[in-house]
């Protein structure tokens, strides 16, 4: 899949147009066709793309083209800035409880990386001198508990489990355990589930109402396509998300799901998973994600030039 960067494409589009001056509506329309294509090819949701393009267009028409830029570069700059802004500032910190323990719930579709992310988070918190507790609340997937235990052992974090007991009971007992054993952050690994599975979504609602978690993090696979908006909006409506973790960014996906999820759920993307190892968790950088979605490594320098 050869994907030309948006930058290159736009240069091409604008080659025939005159050099400097103001961006006319016609210029911008031409450019927006390319922007739309680039975003769709990056898996940004169709409707999100539509809104985004309309907004950018409005901002771009009539703008003075900077001396250092061509009209194509000018549009790229505007697109990039809007995209970065849309994906939010560098809000990568966890909400911590004023009075510990902090409760973090990890939720999401099957196989997105919840269990791995729980352990990655525990590892990073341990490194910061905190005392996390991992809680095995996935009672469905074969060997889910064992998986969390193995990962807990790898990062030296205790794992609380009670077998196939009801998740609400497990979580309550885990909270009790954390209080009496001085663990200050409780990280709950929940089973993967479809957002349309009423019974399992109710289980999460029950967990939420009995734990009052400080963070409910939706784990989203960065390779997700158009369905990301359905998943994120549904989880958000039913649970009220506080943040998102985008996983599997170590591949070659453009990761347009990031934009889709941000657009519909509104909450910040807090972390990025960049590998299978427990140290492969990073803060999320909106500007890097913007260049990635647009397929351009050169944006930063372009924007700095301006």
């Amino acid at each position: 899949m050869v994907f030309e960067g948006l930058s290159t494409r736009l240069q091409e589009t604008f080659r025939k147009l005159r050099g400097k001056g103001k961006l006319t509506e016609e210029d911008v329309n031409l450019a927006m066709r390319e922007v739309r294509l680039a975003l769709l090819e990056a898996d940004v949701n169709y409707k999100v793309v539509k809104d985004f393009v309309a907004r950018v267009k409005e901002r771009a028409v009539g703008q003075e083209v900077l001396k250092s830029l061509t009209p194509g570069q000018q549009v790229v700059k505007i697109v990039y800035e809007e995209l970065t802004q849309l994906m939010g500032g560098d809000q990568t910190k966890l909400n911590l409880a004023a009075k510990p323990p902090t409760v973090v719930m990890m939720v999401g579709l099957q196989g997105t990386g919840k269990t791995t992310t729980c352990a990655k988070l525990a590892r990073s918190l341990l490194a910061q001198g905190r005392r996390p507790l991992l809680v095995a609340a996935d009672i469905y997937r074969p060997a889910a508990i064992k998986q969390l235990q193995v990962l807990g052992e790898k990062c030296n974090c205790p794992v609380f489990s009670m077998g196939q007991e009801n998740p609400v009971n497990i979580a309550r007992a885990a909270l009790e355990y954390a209080r009496s054993n001085g663990r200050d952050i409780v990280i709950l690994d929940t089973a993967g589930r479809l957002h349309i599975n009423e019974e399992l979504m109710n289980e999460l609602k029950d967990l939420k109402s009995s734990l009052n978690p400080h963070e409910i993090l939706l784990v989203v696979d960065a390779m997700t396509g158009q369905d990301a908006v359905n998943v994120a909006s549904s989880f958000n409506e039913q649970l009220g998300l506080t943040g998102v973790v985008l996983t599997k960014l170590d591949g070659d996906t453009r990761g347009g799901a990031a934009l889709s999820v941000k657009a519909v759920a509104g909450c910040p993307i807090k972390f990025a998973g960049v590998g299978e190892k427990l140290e492969d968790l990073e803060p999320f950088y909106p500007n890097r994600m913007a260049s990635r979605i647009l397929g351009m490594g050169d944006v930063q320098s372009l924007v700095e030039k301006a």
Binding site: I196, Q226, R254
Partner: protein, 293 residues
């Protein structure tokens, strides 16, 4: 399934509410395709062909258009509904590959169950020695369906596991040997080479094996699936696709582009987490589900 209703309803609505076959109509159709992860270029191509056909055949009825798109999709996916390959003699060897978390291990459980019900002797090789508790997970599946499991310790060489599994298959006169492999991103060259090595180990004993290399794709995946299919095909010689998680709201439209560009058939679909949630893929049904009742 619920999945299919959404898109079907959309098309139905579109067909009922719009009376004229105009640009707006085609645009909405394109939107439906793109939202099903068909991809921009494939969607545009489908629509272009449709436009041409509508013009050529002087079609004025919106209803007829539906039949045409369906036909178009079926013709692309044709050949996809071929059954799984079988070994002419000796055990049929099936390797299961794919990126992380798509449903490989679960699919193996379901597939083993299907073979067991056909009265076959099934051996499963736990060649994912990397992921935490991957072996335990597969063991639970093997016990559920009554298949033999060949395993080593976590961290062992996958090639060695498969070597033992091949020997066991011979000694125990197994009908089917299914090999689970660790999830890995297609872009990681050294890990991809590891699968190629596993394949060579199999071929040392059975020159015509593996009879199937099944690439598992998650239906929620977008355009990246093309890159996955492309690289897995290059390195492991994928013979078929299993499209999982079709019980969600994702449509898995990307397999159309994959069938078209890479000529890899879809053989099976996963529609849940239970033993029985595996179906044969049918091009007819797939197209029908996309575009009609």
């Amino acid at each position: 399934a619920k999945t299919r209703q959404n898109i079907t309803e959309k098309v139905e609505r579109l067909i009922k509410t719009s009376r004229r076959i105009d640009d707006e109509f085609f645009e909405e159709l394109e939107e439906i395709l793109i939202q099903a992860d068909v991809g921009v270029s494939t969607a545009m191509e489908l629509i272009d062909n449709l436009r041409r056909a509508v013009k050529q055949k002087k079609i004025t009825e919106v209803d007829e258009v539906r039949g045409l798109i369906k036909q178009e999709v079926v013709s692309i996916m044709e050949g996809s509904d071929a059954p799984l390959n079988k070994a002419p003699e000796g055990p049929t060897v099936i390797m299961v590959v794919g990126v992380n978390g798509v449903g490989k291990t679960t699919t193996i459980g379901k597939l083993a169950y299907r073979f067991k019900r056909e009265g076959k002797k099934v051996i499963i090789a736990a060649a994912d020695t990397f992921r935490a508790a991957a072996i335990d997970q597969l063991q639970i599946w093997a016990e559920r369906v009554g298949a033999d499991l060949i395993k080593h310790q976590e961290g062992a060489d996958p090639g060695a596991v498969v070597f033992d599994a091949v020997n066991a298959a011979q000694a125990r006169r197994a009908d089917v040997l299914i090999v689970d492999t660790a999830g890995r991103l297609h872009t990681k060259t050294n890990l991809m080479e590891e699968i190629a090595k596993v394949k060579r180990v199999i071929q040392r004993t059975y020159a015509d094996a593996p009879h199937e290399v099944l690439l598992v794709l998650d239906a929620t995946t977008g355009q990246n699936a093309i890159s996955q299919a492309n690289l897995f095909k290059q390195v492991t010689g994928v013979t078929g696709i299993v499209l999982t998680k079709l019980d969600g709201t994702a449509k898995g439209g990307i397999v159309i582009a994959i069938a078209k560009e890479l000529d890899i058939p879809v053989k099976l679909v996963g529609i849940g987490e239970g033993l029985e949630d595996l179906r044969d893929f049918s091009a007819e049904e797939f197209a029908e589900a996309l575009f009609s009742d």
